[in-house]
């Protein structure tokens, strides 16, 4: 059994959050540069130029890329041969979130669902973090993090389709979601699609699909083909950067698929804005 110190986790996660808030990952920058070069609309091209200039300012001057520094979302793979010493893993991640957000001047965005009161002085600064745990073999902890903004979350949708809908039904639903979202989710987007499993499994998969590097190829050739087909279809919508009209509405489509019940075809679409702030550490 390998022991990992509570404080080591706190310090690693804090660094991950702070770094991610002002440094857009390389996969996102490369995808935005490619989109700017290929975009046909001069207005959208200019918006993409501003987005890339913003990422340079943020990184150089250590400023948050966006004022919506998100809810802190984590996918954590815990090796079964790991023991956390001095506290629990969940507490370490929450403590790191509160400290990183507060000390790096990131926005505390968690609030009560009905009173809308900000929870920074009651529950904690931008707490609770949204944490998805998974148990795996081994003696390491792998922590993936993303700052998930509200604008793109607001247009995300899930549905359970009849099985006969098939791939065409999936494509139609995704198209409806992105079309209806229009300019609101801050395109150009990454579209995460969770297929199969149960109602909630599809949705968690659609979230996790957004953590994959933009431009990476799906290892499942059938899904890779479907991703390309949906990407091409979505870029016909004409929404463009920030909805100004253009040919680059979506940067990438990422699909995660699961076996599902013989009666159902769950589909979830989780939308990610152009400021795709994600990263991971392994301890």
């Amino acid at each position: 059994m390998r022991e990992i110190n509570f404080n080591e986790i706190v310090s690693g996660v804090k660094h991950l959050i702070t770094y991610t808030s002002s440094n857009l990952p390389k996969d996102a920058i490369d995808a935005l540069e490619k989109a700017m070069n290929e975009e046909k609309s001069p207005v959208s091209k200019e918006i993409l130029r501003q987005i890339l200039e913003n990422s340079q300012i943020a990184s150089k001057e250590f400023r948050p890329l966006c004022q919506d520094t998100g809810l802190a979302v984590f996918f954590v793979k815990v090796g079964e041969d790991v023991k956390v010493k001095g506290g629990t893993l969940k507490n370490a991640i929450n403590q790191a979130t509160a400290e990183a957000y507060k000390e790096s001047y990131l926005r505390a965005s968690t609030c009560h669902p009905f009173t809308r009161a900000n929870l920074q002085n009651s529950v904690g600064y931008n707490l609770p973090a949204i944490i998805h745990f998974d148990l795996v073999e081994g003696d390491k902890i792998e922590i993936e993090y993303a700052a998930k903004g509200g604008g793109s979350e607001n247009v995300s949708r899930a549905i359970v389709l009849p099985p006969a809908s098939g791939k065409d039904g999936v494509m139609k639903f995704v198209r409806e979601v992105v079309s209806k979202g229009g300019s609101n989710p801050c395109p150009p987007l990454t579209v995460g699609i969770g297929i199969g499993g149960t109602f909630e499994r599809a949705t968690i998969s659609s979230k996790h699909a957004l953590f994959r590097d933009i431009g990476s190829v799906n290892p499942d050739p059938e899904l890779a083909e479907l991703e390309n087909k949906i990407l091409e279809d979505l870029n016909k919508l004409g929404i463009g950067a920030m909805g100004m009209g253009g040919t680059k509405t979506v940067l990438a489509v990422h699909i995660e698929s699961n076996p599902c019940h013989i009666a159902s075809l769950p589909v979830s679409v989780n939308v990610q804005c152009h400021s795709s702030r994600h990263g991971h550490i392994t301890i």
């Binding site: 002002s22 046909k40 609309s41 001069p42 207005v43 959208s44 200019e46 918006i47 501003q50 987005i51 200039e53 913003n54 990422s55 300012i57 943020a58 001057e61 400023r63 948050p64 890329l65 966006c66 004022q67 919506d68 520094t69 001047y105 990131l106 926005r107 505390a108 965005s109 809308r116 900000n118 920074q120 509200g150 604008g151 607001n154 229009g182 300019s183 609101n184 801050c186 016909k236 919508l237 004409g238 929404i239 463009g240 920030m242 909805g243 100004m244 009209g245 253009g246 040919t247 804005c273 152009h274 400021s275």
Partner: protein, 185 residues
């Protein structure tokens, strides 16, 4: 792309009327920040016939909830939030003198109609460009509702703050026009 203008706030009627969807505007002067919670309070004050925390005549409101400032800086990152959440409040403010709104995303028919009726414009700023836009804000002061945290009303001074006209006084909509131009059916 449209014309490029440098405008001072508060906006004059003649400035608002000449703007067309697609024009690029660099704003200078005082702008007020407000999101959903602050809008609700402003509209409640108007319904009760009470005084607002700032003068609405010719005013420009920016839909933003900035990050906290670092020591020695006026404000943190400050890009626009999604505007539709203000749709139910904006017509009341426009009918009481508001002349400009800065946000991102489509507005409702009612907001566009109010812009036409009273002579107001809706500007889009680049969402997710919070670091760049925050640098265009030279001072910031909370003037109402500090308990709302990032949603408090701030009086900010902007310098060459870059926006694009989305909805003008003629009812044109850059989002619809832009999308129709590039949509492949």
């Amino acid at each position: 792309m449209g014309q490029i203008y440098y405008l001072k706030t508060p906006l004059r009627d003649e400035d608002v009327k000449k703007l067309r969807a697609g024009d690029i505007v660099f704003l200078n002067g005082v702008v007020y920040t407000a999101r959903d919670a602050a809008h609700k309070r402003l509209v409640d004050l108007i319904s009760a016939g009470e005084k607002l925390p700032f003068d609405l005549n010719g005013a420009v409101v920016y839909f933003v909830g900035p990050t906290p400032p670092k020591p020695g800086e006026p404000i943190g990152s400050a890009g626009p939030t999604t505007s539709y959440r203000m749709d139910s409040y904006s017509p009341t403010l426009i009918s009481h003198g508001l002349r400009g709104m800065i946000g991102k995303g489509e507005r409702s028919r009612e907001v566009i109609d109010s812009c036409m009726k009273y002579g107001a414009v809706y500007f889009g700023a680049t969402g997710g460009a919070g670091a760049l836009l925050g640098k265009k804000i030279k001072s910031s002061e909370i003037i109402a509702y500090p308990e709302l945290g990032p949603e408090a009303i701030r009086r900010i001074e902007v310098e060459d703050f870059p926006v694009t006209v989305i909805n003008d006084v003629l009812g044109d909509d850059l989002y619809q026009r832009g999308r129709a131009e590039y949509e492949i059916k």
